[in-house]
């Protein structure tokens, strides 16, 4: 029974849906071609936390860790990963076959700021690239453009309202 549940590897899914696999127990090395290269997680006064690999230091930070979701800042680039066990991977596969393809597009605030103007109404037909809202952040006005052709289902921000990063702004029906 225990043998069946033994977790002998972990899968890492990136936000771009790339899949990586690490056997357990986790080794302190990564194989590139035929060679293993040592990876070390270190920390000191001058550099803070870093990863040492191939004689090079890379700054690293765990920005967020929630359940099996991790945001990692590595060499100034942030990566969002989901960690899956062989079991949860299998379950995900099963679930994805029943869930239909979504035809709804939810637009979220790319940065914190203030909504200056809403240029569409519920029901408006929009074309890809058409400006929907104007979001002001750090005195710069940014257009929130439609990523798709479709129409507006609902609007979730009013002019002059402040929004946080990732707040839902608008929902579109893709056509």
């Amino acid at each position: 029974m225990n043998d069946k549940l033994r977790i002998n590897k972990l899968f890492i899914l990136s936000s771009e849906n790339r899949k990586m696999c690490f056997p357990l127990p986790l080794k302190n090395s990564i194989r590139i071609g035929k060679r293993d290269y040592i990876v070390q997680l270190k920390s000191d006064e001058k550099y803070g936390t870093y990863i040492l690999w191939k004689n090079r230091k890379f700054p690293v930070e765990i920005v967020r860790a929630r359940q099996n979701k991790y945001e990692i800042l590595f060499n100034d680039i942030s990566y969002t990963f989901t960690v899956e066990t062989p079991f949860s991977m299998k379950r995900m596969k099963v679930l994805s076959t029943v869930k239909g393809k979504t035809e709804k597009e939810s637009l979220k605030a790319p940065m914190p700021g203030k909504i200056i103007d809403v240029l569409v109404r519920e029901g408006s037909i929009v074309l890809r690239g058409e400006p929907l809202m104007i979001l002001e952040a750090m005195k710069m006005q940014n257009e929130i453009q439609s990523p798709v052709n479709g129409h507006v289902i609902s609007i979730h921000a009013k002019p002059n309202s402040n929004v946080m990063k990732d707040d839902l702004l608008i929902e579109l029906k893709v056509e």
Binding site: M20, P25, V39, L41, I72, F74, I77, T85, Q141, K165
Partner: protein, 500 residues
């Protein structure tokens, strides 16, 4: 009257930049301590610090004309250097300094006013025959008028704020039914940013290169140029990387454009340092855009290739000295590139990412110059801009400068906020950038995946695996699956789903 003491009406790296030259010239300096940054690095470079932390006024001190004049008088500074931004291009401030017998280190109030108002500047340039993009001769009051002009000169057109600058208050219009929307937005934005809703319309030059000429003029009427800078690497008209010279210019074109730049400066009897901006289209036709009447953020690249200290020249000119440099003696030697390392999240559309800089270490190679006002422990506050440092790299030619830039970028170490470093690391490896064929549209075309190499993502994934297994699988992986919350096997789950 000779300058003996300068009040620095600015902060950050440019305050330090000015104070370094002043010290070398044995001129003392006064810096202003603010509530927003009471421990800022620039304060330690001043001979005297004026403590303004008691000030509870809503206007930042660097924008408060009356207060700045009173500080200059109180500290007996007989000159003010405005740096860039804030009041650097405010004609009223320059005039107020003169009225109080304080030397304003910059051009005349008249030159600032004329070049600051784009419609006046356009008329001036038109009068002396400087090539310009076609457009309205004056401000435009409504969208019908804008549509009429756009139809005459042809789409696309760009709506610009008359009092604008620095890339703000501009909207591109590609067809007439977009005009109403864009006209309203541009007007609103102009009013908000510059207190003046007036706009004008001009032909939009598709995918141009941004080329600007550094100007130096004295109060005796001598005006020269110090060659060009290319600033085509921009995002939403905000410059990110600048270089001097430009790969797009040959000596002949440089001479022609330089001559035009000097003519524009002459038209307003310009003195001090200034910059004439042009757009260069794919057929190497150039168009006058605007003149900036201040020292610019990107001035170091010109200093490196010409060997001229621009702040020193500004101070000498303000002292009434005659320019000692002749146009024929100006030589551009080598190549210089400046990267603006800002606290911005490039993966979130360059959104500002203010915060405390925990660790900071910069390369110290001979080909690197760092202009910064930030050190480990400093904070990037949302009150001011998001600049951390300017990384200025030189080489014998463009190829070597890019190679050195690559190495220097890999040595920069910043922890605490996200930075524009990934963008530059990607950029210097890009073929189009290396070829020098890029235009202002380049960033939109650039591949947005900021991976340095596939191994970096793998290393980050390794860390996520390490964290996950240390937190959840302490007894070496033989326990219950931490992600199996339902305790339902996938086979059973599959069966249930199939029943629907």
């Amino acid at each position: 009257m000779k300058i003996t003491k300068i009040l620095i009406a600015n902060r950050g790296e440019i305050a330090i930049r000015i104070m370094k030259t002043a010290r070398r010239m044995k001129i003392s300096t006064v810096a202003i301590k603010t509530t927003a940054e009471p421990n800022a690095m620039y304060l330690s470079f001043a001979d005297e610090v004026y403590d303004n932390t008691e000030d509870v006024s809503e206007i930042p001190i660097f924008l408060d004309i009356e207060k700045l004049i009173s500080i200059a008088l109180k500290t007996q500074a007989n000159a003010v250097h405005p740096g860039y931004g804030f009041l650097a291009e405010n004609a009223y401030f320059a005039q107020k300094c003169l009225d109080n017998k304080i030397i304003f280190i910059g051009p005349s109030p008249d030159a600032i006013y004329k070049m600051g108002n784009k419609t006046i500047a356009r008329k001036l340039a038109l009068k002396i025959g400087i090539p310009m993009a076609m457009g309205s001769t004056g401000n435009i009051s409504n969208e019908e008028e804008a549509v009429k002009i756009a139809e005459k000169i042809g789409y696309p057109v760009i709506i610009k704020a008359a009092s604008g600058g620095g890339g703000r208050g501009m909207r591109i219009v590609r067809k007439s039914d977009e005009m109403e929307k864009m006209f309203i937005i541009a007007g609103k934005e102009a009013e908000k940013a510059f207190n003046d809703p007036s706009v004008f319309v001009e032909k939009y030059i598709e995918n141009p290169k941004h080329i600007e000429f550094q100007i130096l003029g004295d109060t005796k009427g001598n005006i020269i140029h110090l060659g060009e800078r290319e600033c085509s690497i921009q995002r939403k008209h905000q410059k990110l990387l600048e270089e001097s010279p430009s790969a797009a210019l040959d000596d002949k074109l440089r001479k022609r454009m330089g001559k035009m730049a000097v003519q524009i400066a002459k038209a307003v009897n310009y003195y001090s340092a200034g910059t004439v901006e042009f757009l260069l289209d794919s057929e190497k036709k150039f168009y006058f855009m605007e003149m900036n009447t201040r020292i610019q953020v990107e001035h170091p690249v010109t200093e490196i290739v010409t060997g001229i200290d621009l702040v020193e020249q500004q101070i000498r000119i303000a002292n009434g000295e005659e320019l000692k440099i002749r146009q024929e003696n100006v030589r551009l030697k080598g190549w210089a590139i400046e990267c603006r390392i800002n606290a911005e999240d490039v993966q979130a559309g360059f959104a500002p990412d203010p915060g405390k800089i925990e660790k900071l270490s910069m390369p110290s190679d001979s080909y690197v110059r760092i202009d910064t006002g930030i050190q480990a422990g400093s904070s990037i506050v949302s009150t001011y801009d998001s600049m951390i440092a300017k990384l200025i790299v030189s080489g014998r030619d463009r190829k070597e400068a890019i190679k050195n830039c690559k190495m220097a970028l890999d040595k920069v170490w910043i922890k605490g906020t996200k930075t524009t470093l990934p963008f530059f690391r990607l950029l210097v490896r890009n073929q189009k950038f290396q070829d020098g064929t890029f235009t202002t549209a380049f960033i939109d075309e650039l591949d947005k995946y900021y991976f340095n190499s596939e191994y970096e993502e793998m290393l980050a994934a390794w860390l996520a695996t390490k964290m996950f297994s240390e937190e959840n699988l302490r007894d070496s992986g033989t326990s219950k699956d931490p992600l199996n919350k339902s305790d339902m096997s996938p086979w059973l789950l599959n069966k249930r789903i199939n029943q629907f």
